[in-house]
């Protein structure tokens, strides 16, 4: 009898707000320690929280994107535990009445039918500070304390590390589409805790779970799950028992280690936060937010295939990043040539972005410039090789493609007389190739075209050259 793993994820996402969850301090990243602090986020005597309405809106917006139910009434609670990075030694969170309930994330693994991973809930809470350890002492930076965090809790609804990975990728994509947060794992504004248990395939109950906290790379989560599943199976097969515990993933050793067991688990002593009023929403408010939602990535992929006639693979690549998708659609509309737009972006653009570690928003090639370049090729003004040079120039320095073509003298030669002379010269200079061609070696024609292009410094229209060679030799 084989084993089946059951995986649930709790994903924390920092919301894109100007100010913290309960005070006016900045959420800016990278400031000197303890410069974005005030009596409220330092937990001074008498200071009180005031709710950031924008954070509530962004959480509900995420919930709407993920198909959650939005209750009209939700509330905040105090979650008590002592830790030096917690200014009040309780965290304001949501216990039993979160902002969003249910919902799901669609995933599609290769070779498997698509499925929806169910969500339990999404709630809003405040982040804690950051402990720092020095040689002689420790300190806490409270700049991050009070930053709004949204926690997305999945059902224990995944069974393989690959599913968990696909879930995280799809979730991140949707949240980026919703523009609720930067979801930048390196900056720590997206991280997750994984819950994992294994059981015999025919078991009616889930096995005892372990929780691995604070995974800050998707790859780490994947490897931690692989390791943990193997460890649990090995333990059980060896006659051992899994204890409910919190474990830590060490990326250096690629192993998990026990941090604390259930016996010393926290009793958080939740109770309703008396300093905040409950969140009461109206149907009209939720409808207004719903009306302002962007398209979901999956819907967009389908529409792009339909509207632009591009292959599903292209649509998936282009829609993976919302801003790349937006860029593509703008270029396709302006140039009227969706296939060429897709080709330019998928090959040249994404390659250069990857090489230079740039975001599409930082790119110098304007929508107008790329559409213009496509037009020059379509009208035969520029051959595809020269177009690549122009693109490289646009990518490096920006500008107008027409002007670059003029400045570099790249206008394609399509004058029959001029080309005829060049072709004749190439035939005369390469009798062996002519012989080969006549003996059925079509490759020889390509060689002759290459010779013409070389002599013309790439300006000859290669299609015309090819046709002319065939005509003159047959």
């Amino acid at each position: 009898m084989s084993w089946i793993a059951t995986i649930g994820l709790e994903t924390h996402v920092q919301l894109r707000t100007e100010s913290k969850m309960f005070c006016a301090c900045s959420t800016g990243f990278g400031a000197p320690p303890n410069t974005h602090v005030c009596p409220v986020c330092l937990g001074y005597p008498g200071a009180m929280p005031v709710m950031n309405r924008r954070a509530v809106e962004l959480t509900v917006r995420s919930g709407l994107m993920l198909g959650c139910e939005i209750p009209l009434y939700s509330k905040f609670d105090r979650k008590s535990y002592f830790y030096p990075d917690m200014p009040k030694n309780y965290q304001i969170s949501q216990f039993d009445q979160p902002l969003c309930e249910g919902g799901g994330v669609d995933i599609a693994l290769e070779g498997q039918p698509p499925r929806r991973i169910a969500l339990t809930r999404i709630h809003l809470e405040e982040d804690v500070g950051k402990s720092m350890h020095f040689r002689q002492s420790s300190g806490v930076d409270f700049n991050r304390a009070g930053v709004p965090l949204m926690e997305i809790v999945s059902d224990p609804d995944m069974h393989t590390p690959a599913e968990a990975m696909a879930y995280l990728v799809a979730l991140k994509q949707i949240l980026l589409y919703a523009e609720v947060g930067d979801c930048n794992l390196e900056k720590g504004n997206m991280r997750c805790d994984v819950n994992i248990s294994v059981a015999r395939e025919d078991a009616t109950e889930l096995g005892t779970k372990a929780e691995i906290k604070n995974m800050n790379t998707f790859r780490g989560a994947f490897h931690a799950l692989e390791y943990e599943i193997a460890r649990q199976i090995e333990t059980l097969e060896g006659g051992g028992r899994i204890v409910q515990e919190t474990r830590r993933w060490d990326p250096d050793t690629q192993m998990t280690y026990s941090m604390r067991t259930k016996e010393d688990a926290h009793d958080y002593r939740y109770f309703p936060e008396p300093d905040l009023m409950p969140v009461e929403l109206t149907e009209a408010q939720i409808d207004r937010w719903r009306a302002g939602l962007p398209e979901l990535p999956a819907a967009r992929r389908e529409r792009m295939v339909e509207e632009y006639g591009i292959p599903p693979y292209d649509a998936a690549v282009l829609a993976a990043d919302k801003r790349v998708g937006d860029y593509f659609e703008a270029v396709a509309r302006q140039s009227g040539n969706a296939k060429a737009s897709s080709n330019w972006i998928m090959t040249e653009m994404l390659r250069l972005l990857g090489e230079q570690e740039l975001e599409i928003s930082e790119v110098r090639v304007t929508v107008e410039a790329l559409a213009g370049l496509i037009g020059l090729v379509d009208h035969g003004t520029l051959n595809s090789n020269s177009a690549k040079d122009v693109f490289a120039e646009l990518f490096a320095n920006g500008g107008d493609p027409q002007a670059i073509v003029a400045a570099k003298g790249l206008t394609q030669v399509s004058d029959t007389g001029a080309i005829e002379g060049l072709v004749q010269a190439a035939i005369d200079a390469n009798p062996q190739s002519v012989e080969d061609f006549r003996n059925g070696k079509t490759k020889a024609a390509k060689f002759l075209v290459g010779q013409v292009m070389r002599v013309s410094k790439g300006k000859a229209n290669p299609q015309m050259v090819g046709e002319m060679i065939e005509r003159m030799l047959s």
């Binding site: 009596p39 330092l42 937990g43 001074y44 005597p45 008498g46 200071a47 009180m48 929280p49 005031v50 709710m51 105090r78 008590s80 002592f82 830790y83 030096p84 200014p87 009040k88 030694n89 309780y90 420790s138 806490v140 009793d267 002593r269 939740y270 109770f271 008396p274 300093d275 905040l276 009023m277």
Partner: protein, 486 residues
């Protein structure tokens, strides 16, 4: 015992009387504050009402007030000296909350109530003693000093705002601020013979009031007469964006409600507040006050608040639960006192809190932690919340037929110092007539209504519906004026 100094009699000098003298130019704020400081120097040695006096700062504020007046300004409290319970944050001043754990803490900001009073021109003279973190009814739980009742130095001033009550009642403050979570303004006011007002929950911003029990705490004035309470309430009331529990309800001119008669008013006597266990002298003083109100035109009616007997248990569950979280922040990490010699953060918490908190605070933190803990939460905390709703409904029903309710403030007058220190349960029962108003979120006023044969003051409690401060101030004022004129 008459603190006369440069013509001021601080035993009776009211805010409104001093206001007139300042407006007419008969005196200056610097003169008033100088002689008040002299009175404090003379009397506070035995009362021990103040924990911090910053004479230099007080005189500088007074001089500033006089300058503002010379410039033609006439803010409502311009130049009026006030004593502040040591639980409110005042920029640049300590705020010990009567605890060792806040040793060395200097407030970096003004509580909203303080900022409003500052705006209105008030001068903050000193900070008054209190039970540690407002937990207690005698001020004996202060870690700093024991305050004495001005009417009998062997007795407690009440608490937790005992320092403010002793200062006003003892003639070494013109008026003071207190805070009331279960009676902490009204009870010491009744013990010390002054007026104490606990406003409706949400009437005055709690921002900057160090929290004991967030859903019960309110700031309020402690004064020589009802008019002063009305004046100070008006200066502090109003919605505050920094306190989400403050209510956006118009702030009337409370002094305009002080008509001097009670014609057309119906006053209720909750039968559960006139029971065995109430000291006979207290009961007769309160009954006499009720008779006086009838003479002034009020209709008196018996009412019932049937869930009163559960109030103390309910109060102690909710208040301690909230306190256990509110006091978790005092850990020595960011401010206040930090224990030496700790081996790790958790050890530091343990040592800091063990050394920093007194026994009553520890008792309540443990109780509150227990009632919220897994397996007990529903039986205690949730049940208490349900009973709280029933208590609130009792009052709503009573206020359907009454404009205000009259009762004793406490079952007994002030006790001897040390008398109840070892009997916390007995002490908790002293809150039974006052904690209900906090649970229901309504307002309550304590007005002196005579003394016992031994000369100890007795207080009349006047409770009103939420945002019914005008009604209870009107009743208190009419009664007070009638007594003064008789």
């Amino acid at each position: 015992m008459d603190n006369e100094s440069m013509g001021f009699n601080f035993n009776s000098l009211t805010v409104h009387a001093l206001q007139e003298q300042l407006q007419s130019g008969a005196t200056t704020s610097v003169e008033a504050v100088t002689s008040l400081l002299a009175a404090i120097a003379e009397r506070d040695g035995e009362l021990k009402a103040y924990v911090t006096l910053d004479a230099e700062d007080a005189l500088a504020q007074a001089a500033e007030a006089d300058r503002r007046r010379a410039d033609g300004e006439d803010a409502p409290l311009l130049g009026i000296p006030l004593a502040i319970k040591d639980v409110l944050n005042v920029t640049g001043q300590p705020c010990t909350c009567g605890s060792h754990i806040l040793q060395g803490y200097i407030a970096p900001y003004d509580a909203t109530a303080i900022a409003k009073l500052r705006q209105a021109g008030a001068v903050f003279v000193g900070r008054t003693n209190m039970d540690e973190f407002a937990m207690g009814g005698t001020t004996e739980n202060s870690s700093l000093q024991v305050t004495h009742n001005p009417h009998d130095l062997d007795r407690v001033p009440g608490g937790s705002s005992g320092g403010s009550a002793a200062a006003v009642g003892g003639g070494i403050a013109v008026a003071a601020l207190g805070s009331d979570t279960g009676g902490s303004i009204r009870q010491p006011a009744s013990f010390c013979g002054c007026v104490g007002l606990k406003p409706t929950y949400g009437r005055i911003s709690r921002y900057g009031l160090t929290a004991f029990a967030s859903s019960l705490d309110q700031i309020g004035p402690m004064t020589h007469d009802v008019r002063d309470a009305a004046l100070l309430l008006g200066a502090m009331a109003g919605v505050d964006p920094m306190d989400s529990s403050s209510v956006d309800c118009p702030v009337p001119d409370y002094t305009a409600a002080l008509s001097g008669d009670l014609k057309g008013m119906t006053l209720g006597l909750p039968q559960e507040y006139f029971v065995k266990g109430v000291d006979p002298e207290v009961e007769s003083a309160v009954r006499a006050a009720v008779a006086r109100c009838r003479e002034l035109g009020a209709e008196i009616r018996e009412v019932s608040l049937p869930h009163t007997e559960y109030a103390i248990a309910t109060y102690y569950v909710i208040a301690t639960a909230e306190a256990s979280a509110n006091l978790a922040r005092f850990d020595g990490v960011r401010y206040g006192r930090r224990a030496e010699g700790a081996t790790d953060p958790i050890d530091m918490y343990g040592k800091t809190r063990a050394q920093g908190f007194g026994p009553e605070v520890k008792r309540r933190i443990i109780l509150g932690t227990y009632v919220l803990s897994g397996g007990y939460h529903d039986a205690y905390y949730l049940t208490a919340q349900k009973v709280r709703t029933l208590i609130r409904r009792d009052f709503e029903q009573a206020f359907e037929e009454c404009d205000a309710l009259l009762s004793p403030v406490t079952p007994t007058p002030a006790y001897k110092i040390g008398e109840k220190v070892n009997d916390p349960l007995q002490m908790y029962l002293g809150d039974m007539f006052t904690a209900t108003a906090n649970l229901a979120g309504i307002c309550g006023l304590s007005v002196p209504c005579g003394t016992t044969a031994a000369g100890l003051p007795v207080g009349l409690q006047i409770m009103g519906p939420a945002f019914g401060e005008e009604q209870i101030l009107r009743v208190g004022h009419a009664y007070e004026q009638a007594e003064a004129g008789s």
